[in-house]
């Protein structure tokens, strides 16, 4: 099987990789680029554990082919924190204990980042609808919602950092 050569940008770094035609972006991230923070829970776009941001849009990387990354700008969970400083979304998830097993957490962090980039002042209902594509089996969503709303407030400067 011959492979395709793809040039893209991932987490602010230029990246080149080779992939087979049928490989998803998630396969490439996890198995070729060793970016294993994005998880495969379903491979059918139902669970959101593989969420990435592509050109500002929230995507399931299991529904995108590796070759489709060509020329785009992609952010994964590994690119959310700034150097050694956690992003407010990550800090608030920790502060609210908005995680249990942690398997859905990367997807929720990425989805929340995408939400707050697009809408810095969401209502709780907007946040609930936005995160409806991210399944958590352990915690329920109350602590997640509290973390999202506090992260939004912190990023707007209305609340002290956690």
């Amino acid at each position: 099987m011959s492979k395709h050569h793809v040039s893209t940008t991932i987490n602010n770094e230029p990246v080149e990789f080779l992939c087979e035609t049928q490989e998803t972006l998630l396969d490439v991230l996890r198995n070729t680029l060793n970016l294993t923070g994005s998880k495969e829970g379903c491979a059918s776009g139902d669970c959101g554990a593989c969420s990435v941001i592509c050109d500002g849009a929230l995507m399931c990387s299991c529904l995108m082919l590796g070759v489709e990354a060509e020329g785009h700008v992609i952010t994964t969970v590994e690119g959310i924190a700034r150097e050694d400083e956690l992003h407010p979304v990550q800090r608030q998830f920790l502060e609210h204990a908005a995680l249990q097993c942690g398997f859905c957490t990367p997807g929720l962090i990425v989805a929340t980042k995408a939400l707050l980039d697009a809408n810095p002042n969401p209502t709780e209902e907007e946040a609930r609808y936005w995160l409806a594509g991210n399944l958590c089996r352990c915690t329920g969503y109350d602590k997640v919602l509290a973390a999202v709303m506090d992260a939004a407030a912190e990023m707007r400067g209305e609340r002290q950092a956690a």
Binding site: M1, E20, Q22, D27, R30, N31, N34, L35, T36, G37, S38, K39, E40, G41, C42, A43, S44, C47, A49, T76, V77, E78, I80, A81, L86, Q90, F93, L94, E95, A97, L99, Q100, C101, G102, F103, C104, T105, P106, I109, L135, C136, R137, C138
Partner: protein, 642 residues
């Protein structure tokens, strides 16, 4: 959250530190089963039966092995045909022979998705292509998936050697009923004769999957000297080691099972599916082998909880006193014996003090995946049936449903229908708290209704090991054998910090592999905080004793004259001498000169777990035109002990 009991004098336990595994989980660094990679690793995939019940006539791997990049194929022929033997390392009943045949079908495929072979290749795509080339010939057999149809005399029989246990007379022919369980108390016929009111109902449930978001995954390597490393996500690394050793006839000492982060289990990861296959393939190829299930495979071939059919009949006097209670339970076990029928038979009526009880349960095999433990295995279905019948009884008696339960609730000293008597339980307090909660008397609108339900679980203790190490700078490490499925590393660190008297931030907890900590039973049965916590506390207490001994040595006084508080040794009163306190850090610094490293490991079999009770209130609104239901309000009242 409101707590009824007063808080004991604790400084760390009860606080809310950030969990020690948190940063890795919010940054994507945490390593789960499928995240593990080893150099030179092969990928393996499973060939699964497309039939619910079929004899495997032949497996021809010639074309598969001829495909470039394929390294090995394993079938049941590569595994020893082991003898029937009860296994005690998982949660719920399991037999090593059945587990072997569940991991890879021998002679017959017993459900759609049953593994019949596994292929290791240089990439996932080659492994996929190799599976398609594997030629498996089947003789399709009649199948049965309904629990009552499987019990019928003319049902297709899954196992020729399965004879029902627990019958009055030993059966003369095999059937799909693996076991009959009976619990009787008093005289059920007399009880129903005394009843003014009788309610009866039939309750059926479907097999529900645990649906952990992380599919099963492992990486296994075998060195040339026969030492294996198994990296996997499970509810028990010692369970993984035991099952792999038994299924492949290995010594336990040749296997090191390393627990990776677990992305949910809910009981479903208390047994193995992939690890024995990967171990056999790694041995055959001399290369590390990685296996990861797809979501489809998880739903097809891994254990849900039992689907059930439950009949309940309850008789009561006009004043609400229950005088007779009967329950017949039929639980799907899946393709191999071992549903949670035992707990099902015990839990339904466990909450009520009943004079006359008759419970009969059946463990039934059918052409479905083998069931696995799932959150209080067996109890929710039985409780749902009994609680629904009690609601019917309350309506018939025109009585408040909580009052009816209070009238019959178990109290200290009540003897259960399955044997033991309760002590120090909090069910009536839980009922009273629910009844007095503002939710219970809040007004309801049109098309809205309120339901209550109660639940019971034994809780268990069991075998656990933990070690506490004092570091040279006065910080500490905690190693336990319990995979952390819900935050137990935080709990263990907090308990160690509490005993040592130091800040929880100075205690770093990890989950040890099977070679670095003593045997520990699976994470399940609500046992870890209790049993592994007990091991941590005892190890911490032994460390504190050593710290006191070191202080006594420094001060040249007897150890009895030293006391430990707030992370430091103090002379116990003025008679002991006027010494300045020695902090844990100061003693740790001098450890080499006072006897060497300070650490302790404790292994124990924790006894005395107290049962838990719950009373929940739920408001639901139904749209009469569409039938859509919406949960409006939910209040949970839990008896969590002292």
């Amino acid at each position: 959250m409101n707590y009824i009991v007063s808080k004991p004098e604790l400084k760390v336990v009860g606080t809310r530190p950030v969990r020690p595994d948190g940063v890795d989980k919010v940054t994507g660094r945490a390593q789960f089963g499928a995240d593990m990679v080893l150099p030179g690793m092969l990928w393996a995939k499973v060939k699964r039966s497309p039939h619910a019940h079929a004899r495997i006539v032949s497996i021809d791997a010639a074309k598969t092995l001829a495909l470039p990049g394929v390294r090995a194929v394993v079938t049941a022929a590569d595994f020893p045909d082991i003898a029937s033997e009860e296994a005690f390392v998982g949660e719920g009943p399991m037999n090593f022979r059945d587990l072997s045949r569940n991991c890879i079908a021998r002679d017959k495929a017993l459900y759609e998705g049953h593994a019949v072979a596994a292929v290791a290749a240089i990439s996932q795509s080659v492994a996929d292509a190799a599976l398609a080339l594997l030629d498996v010939q089947y003789e399709v057999l009649p199948h049965v998936i309904d629990v009552e149809a499987a019990m019928a005399p003319d049902a297709p029989v899954l196992h020729d050697d399965l004879f029902t246990q627990g019958m009055d007379h030993k059966p003369s022919k095999p059937s799909n009923i693996a076991k009959r369980v009976v619990y009787k108390k008093g005289d059920i016929d007399k009880g129903f004769r005394e009843a003014d009111v009788v309610v009866e109902g039939r309750y059926t449930t479907q097999p529900v999957h645990q649906a952990y978001i992380e599919p099963h995954a492992c990486v296994v390597s075998v060195a040339a000297d026969g030492q294996a490393q198994i990296y996997s996500s499970s509810q028990g690394q010692f369970m993984v080691r035991a099952y792999c050793a038994k299924l492949l006839n290995w010594d336990l000492s040749n296997i090191r099972a390393v627990p990776l982060e677990i992305g949910g289990g809910f009981g479903g990861k208390t047994l193995v599916y992939l690890e024995p296959l990967a171990l056999a393939l790694a041995q055959k190829t001399g290369r590390p082998v990685k296996m990861v299930m797809t979501r489809e495979e998880v739903f097809q071939a891994t254990g849900p909880t039992s689907g059930t059919v439950i009949d309940v009949k309850i008789g009561a006097r006009r004043d609400g006193t229950i005088v007779a209670a009967k329950e017949v339970l039929k639980y799907q076990a899946g393709a191999f014996a071992g549903s949670p029928i035992g707990p099902g038979c015990m839990c339904g009526f466990a909450m009520y003090d009943l004079p006359n009880v008759d419970v009969e349960g059946f463990d039934v095999v059918s052409n479905r995946p083998k069931v696995a433990a799932y959150r209080a295995p067996g109890a929710p279905m039985s409780s749902w049936a009994v609680e629904s019948a009690l609601d019917d009884l309350a309506r018939k008696l025109d009585m408040d449903p909580i009052t009816l339960r209070e009238k019959n609730a178990v109290r200290d000293g009540s003897k259960t229908h399955y044997g033991p008597s309760f002590r120090d339980i909090g069910f009536v307090e839980t009922l009273a708290a629910a009844k007095n909660h503002p939710h219970y008397s809040a007004p309801l609108g049109p098309n809205q209704g309120r339901g209550i339900g109660c639940g019971f679980w034994f809780n268990i203790g069991g075998e656990s090991s933990a070690a506490v190490h004092v570091n040279e700078d006065g910080t500490a490490g905690v190693v336990s054998g319990s995979p952390d499925i819900g935050g137990s590393r935080a709990s263990m660190a907090m308990m160690a910090a509490e005993v040592l008297g130091i800040d929880v931030g100075k205690v770093r907890p990890i989950v040890g592999d099977t070679s670095s900590i003593g045997f520990t039973h699976v994470t399940g049965g609500s046992r870890v905080t209790f049993a592994t916590g007990m091991a941590v506390i005892q190890a911490g207490e032994r460390v504190v004793h050593q710290l006191k001994e070191r202080a006594a040595q420094i001060w040249e006084i007897p150890v009895e004259a030293v006391e430990w508080r707030d992370g430091a040794a103090y002379p116990a009163g003025s008679n002991a001498g006027g010494f300045e306190p020695q902090t844990l850090g100061q003693i740790a610094e001098k450890a080499a000169r006072t006897g060497g490293p300070i650490s302790s490991e404790v292994s124990l079999n924790a006894q005395g777990a107290g049962p838990g009770f719950g009373v929940h209130i739920c408001d639901v609104e139904v749209d009469p035109e569409t039938g859509r239901t919406t949960i409006l309000r939910y209040t949970a009242v839990q008896d969590v002990g002292k």
